[in-house]
């Protein structure tokens, strides 16, 4: 048995799973300290289905806590960014493109030092340890508690980041956390460095939260290993989460989509997650969310995280319904969390999308008598409007002429009809309201390679095999069952104007987590 928990900004959802069977599911309010809400969720699960802590093989948690901390600029540690690349890169020092407010929130200090590599592994300049020690002394003098280290082309060679980390660790001692960019991001210095600095700023909070999670599970008598879910739908163990909190940033929508895949039994489908204010539409391909191809900016900071490609529209359970000369409109404004006070079915005076669903007999929420006198023509026209708008987004997310099945999850999915215009039948699996917690519980572990290779004549296959093997090895090192590791993503982009057929290869391997029998 395993437990999946999704700690969102509003709700903490939890499920108890045996294999892929849902034994218990619950939705509770998120507590300020995170851990109280988790204990309440565990109590609620146990009330539904008694279990012994010893029966659990793993606990998986997905959380938006760290991305919310960045967006709200709270609980961030005083952070320094050290970049190795001089004499190159001096024109754009670290954090140059950050919102000033966030630079202030992390007490950000930028340092440049000699080092860095060329694309082919040559050194731009040698590392200068005296220079690094001087920077370390300045960091200590300014109360820096966490350091992000980036080096030019570190995805090609991590040599300088590792050596600089040794020097800094010796100077600053064990209490200052070090985050290395080659472990966090891909090629693209500023984006990788940004992600590393954000990670560094979250390290203290991560230690605090992870300690709290471990303690609350231990208090509950749970000794099973604890994992956190990452952006790409794979898992990390708590020690990794302590060091790489930034890797949780996009886990919310990813878990919701992966959960939908399990519940519906569909690996390739569109997932419509209907919440209170918006509907988020994403596409699963082979069980994993399709990734966005545009740069992702979080709280005004550019990064190159892999994020799911999700399109949102302002239609949810709390959306306001209005009558106009051209027919009814739905959303984009919503009563949000005040649904249980303002909707007609809850005795309020606002016509919401939820009232339509109840009036049409699609949902049993609140008091159906309150909507009995709604004009059936209006109800039908407004629900048709919702169906057409959602179907339009699904249609735009399609990548081929083949039919794409649609899976509806989230509390607001009662708004959708059984058939979407042009898209066919809507799958509405059991437990659709807690799909995200289920997604956390079934996450896999992965390994990734992203590097520029010089591919000599006739060497392409050998190089491709090497990259694939390294991704597989990394997945196994992260805890994947070697029997089932497979490559889920492979991308090869030649680098123009360089000799030796320089090619950037990105490769990702994933497998099921190897759990004790």
């Amino acid at each position: 048995m395993r437990i999946g928990i999704d700690v969102g900004g509003t709700n903490t959802d939890a499920v108890l799973l045996d294999g892929s069977t849902v034994l218990a599911a619950t939705k509770a309010s998120t507590s300020r300290d995170v851990t109280t809400g988790i204990v309440q969720a565990l109590d609620a699960l146990r009330a539904q289905r008694a279990f012994q802590p010893g029966e659990l093989t793993a606990v998986m948690i997905g959380t938006t806590h760290f991305i919310n901390a960045l967006v709200q600029a709270r609980d961030l540690a005083p952070t320094a960014a050290l970049r190795l690349g001089l004499p190159a890169t001096a024109s754009l020092p670290p954090m140059v493109d950050w919102p000033r407010r966030l630079v202030g929130a992390v007490s950000g200090r930028a340092y440049l030092a000699h080092g860095g590599h060329e694309f082919d592994g040559r050194h731009i300049a040698e590392l200068n340890e005296a220079e690094l020690r001087a920077h370390a002394a300045d960091m200590a003098a300014h109360g820096v508690r966490s350091v992000a280290i980036s080096s030019v082309f570190s995805p090609v060679s991590n040599e300088f980041e590792l050596r600089a980390a040794e020097v800094l660790a010796a100077e600053l001692g064990p209490d200052v956390a070090l985050s290395l960019s080659h472990e966090i991001g891909r090629i693209g210095l500023l984006e990788r460095e940004n992600a590393t600095i954000v990670n560094a700023a979250l390290r203290e909070l991560a230690a605090h939260i992870v300690d709290g999670l471990i303690r609350s599970l231990a208090d509950y008598g749970i000794t099973a290993p604890l994992y956190l879910s990452q952006n790409d739908g794979t898992l990390m163990d708590v020690e990794y989460a302590r060091r790489y909190p930034v890797a949780t940033f996009a886990s919310g929508p990813t878990n919701s989509m992966r959960g939908a895949a399990l519940l519906s039994g569909l690996g390739t489908c569109a997932v419509v997650d209907v919440g209170g204010t918006t509907s988020d539409v994403g596409v699963l391909s082979g069980g994993f969310p399709r990734e966005a191809t545009t740069e992702v900016s979080i709280a005004g900071i550019r990064t190159n995280f892999r994020m799911p490609d999700v399109v949102s529209i302002g239609i949810g359970g709390g959306s306001l319904v209005r009558e106009t000369a051209d027919g009814p409109t739905v959303g984009p404004d919503s009563v949000g969390y005040r649904l249980t006070e303002e909707a007609l079915v809850f005795g309020g005076s606002t016509l919401t999308a939820t009232d339509l669903a109840v009036a049409a007999g699609r949902a049993d929420i609140g008091d159906p008598v309150a909507v009995a006198r709604l004009d059936p023509t209006l109800v039908k026209a407004a629900l048709d409007r919702i169906a057409v708008d959602v179907a339009d987004i699904v249609e735009r997310m399609r990548t081929s002429a083949d039919p794409l099945p649609v899976v509806a999850v989230g509390g607001g999915s009662v708004l959708l009809p059984d058939d979407l215009p042009g898209a066919g039948g809507v799958h509405r699996p059991d437990h659709f309201a807690v799909a995200n917690a289920i997604g956390a519980a079934i996450a896999q572990v992965g390994g990734e390679v992203d590097r520029v290779y010089a591919i000599g004549s006739g060497r392409r296959e050998a190089v491709v095999d090497e990259a694939r093997q390294e991704a597989v090895d990394r997945a196994i090192a992260a805890g994947a069952d070697p029997a089932g590791v497979r490559i889920v993503d492979f991308d090869e982009v030649p680098v123009p104007y360089l000799p030796g057929n320089a090619t950037r290869i990105r490769c990702k391997a994933v497998g099921d987590l190897q759990l004790p029998a």
Binding site: G85, L86, P87, A88, T89, A90, S91, L92, V96, D97, G116, E118, F119, D120, R122, I124, V152, F153, I187, G188, L189, L190, V283, R290, T293, T294, R396, R398, T399, S400, A401, V452, E492, V493, P494, V495, P496, Y497, L498, P499, N501, A502, T503, R504
Partner: protein, 368 residues
């Protein structure tokens, strides 16, 4: 009239430059950040209309050469482009009165602005490609008799190299490419030094203004919830890039890329929203030819631009991914780029294409 370019215009300019990059030219982002920093430190840049240049004014264009993929990782020190300019001035024994882009598409729209901000020189509102091209001899400067050399190349260690191949601009390209590889795959250059009279005779005029107008049109179309492509069409109608044609709307179904002789060559295939019609784009760093259901609908040097379906944000060939929803447009180039001499330097045959050049407004006669 000369005008000032400030921080608030750079995002629109970068978007427009990405469009004029016609799939290549490198992501203008690093260039934009460089210019932003320089303008913050030194103040706005003065942009000169080419007609304002004295005939005997001395103009030295500046640019980046090499792999944009390297530039996003090994960012310049910042001293290189000015160092290249100074090295060429020293070699020629004459100071520049202004700098100028050699290429208005992609990152090279930004490098001269960075030089201008740092040196206080004005930048001329013109360029030599009218878009982006992969090689240094593919310039209207070159077509109409301006020698590219002597040229100067600078690296981040303070080193500089002068190359002089007389009037042979193809050989300049070949030798400087080799030096750039030794410098780590990207370098900063000053070349095609010329007089104001030569600028007026050989350059594509007002392409900085054009990039700014194009970037602004796309943004405003989006902000006003009108079709950005329609706003773009209206904007171009009043310029020497008069005609815009929507070539195709659909989704990316296949992208094939390979490195041949230092270029990214390949093709991308798209399927229409109806599920039947197809578009094939061939590219060598930049888009070369668009073929819809077997018919050529736009061909180099006319511009072929892939725009994100909803936002009309330009997408480069490197950014093309399976499943993207796009609108592909063709844009006519100015007459100066369509003469027989120009087509000999950057027409279809220079990229190994058999199809002759036919203007996009004739290939797709009616604005759809």
């Amino acid at each position: 009239m000369s005008w000032k370019l400030g921080l608030d215009q750079l995002t629109d300019l970068a978007r427009g430059a990405a469009l004029l990059g016609t799939g290549g030219g490198g992501d203008p982002l690093i260039g934009r950040l460089l210019v932003e920093q320089a303008i913050r430190e030194h103040g706005p840049v003065t942009v000169l209309d080419p007609e304002e240049l004295d005939d005997d004014a001395f103009v030295i264009p500046t640019a980046m050469m090499g792999a944009p993929t390297v530039m996003v990782e090994k960012i310049p020190s910042g001293a290189e482009p000015v160092a290249a300019l100074r090295a060429l001035e020293a070699h020629l024994g004459r100071s520049a009165d202004a700098t100028m882009p050699i290429e208005c598409g992609g990152i090279n729209s930004m490098i001269p602005l960075f030089v201008a901000a740092r040196t206080g020189l004005p930048v001329v509102d013109a360029d030599g490609m009218g878009r982006a091209f992969p090689e240094l001899q593919m310039e209207t400067f070159s077509v109409y008799g301006v020698p590219g050399t002597p040229m100067a190349i600078a690296g981040e260690n303070g080193e500089s190299v002068i190359i002089d191949t007389g009037g042979d601009n193809k050989r300049m390209e070949w030798i400087s490419r080799g030096v750039t590889v030794r410098l780590g795959g990207s370098s900063l250059i000053a070349e095609y030094a010329m007089t104001g009279a030569d600028v007026k005779r050989t350059a594509i005029p007002r392409t900085l203004s054009l990039a700014l107008a194009v970037g602004r049109a796309i943004r405003q179309g989006r902000e006003n919830h009108t079709d950005p492509v329609a706003v773009l069409r209206e904007t171009l109608a009043g310029t020497i890039y008069t005609h815009l044609r929507v070539l195709f709307s659909g989704k990316v179904t296949d992208v094939e890329r390979r490195t041949v002789e230092g270029f990214t060559r390949g093709r991308a295939r798209f399927t229409g929203h109806d599920g039947h019609s197809t578009l094939e784009l061939r590219f060598q760093n930049e888009h070369l030819v668009a073929v819809v259901d077997g018919d050529v609908v736009c061909i180099v040097p006319d511009l072929i631009c892939v725009l994100e379906g909803d936002t009309a944000e330009p997408i480069t060939t490197e950014g093309l991914r399976y499943g993207q929803r796009v609108t592909v447009v063709g844009i006519s180039t100015p007459d100066l780029m369509r003469t027989p001499e120009a087509l000999d330097v950057f027409g279809p045959s220079c990229f190994g294409l058999d199809h002759p050049f036919v203007p996009v407004e004739r290939l797709v006669p009616e604005a759809p």
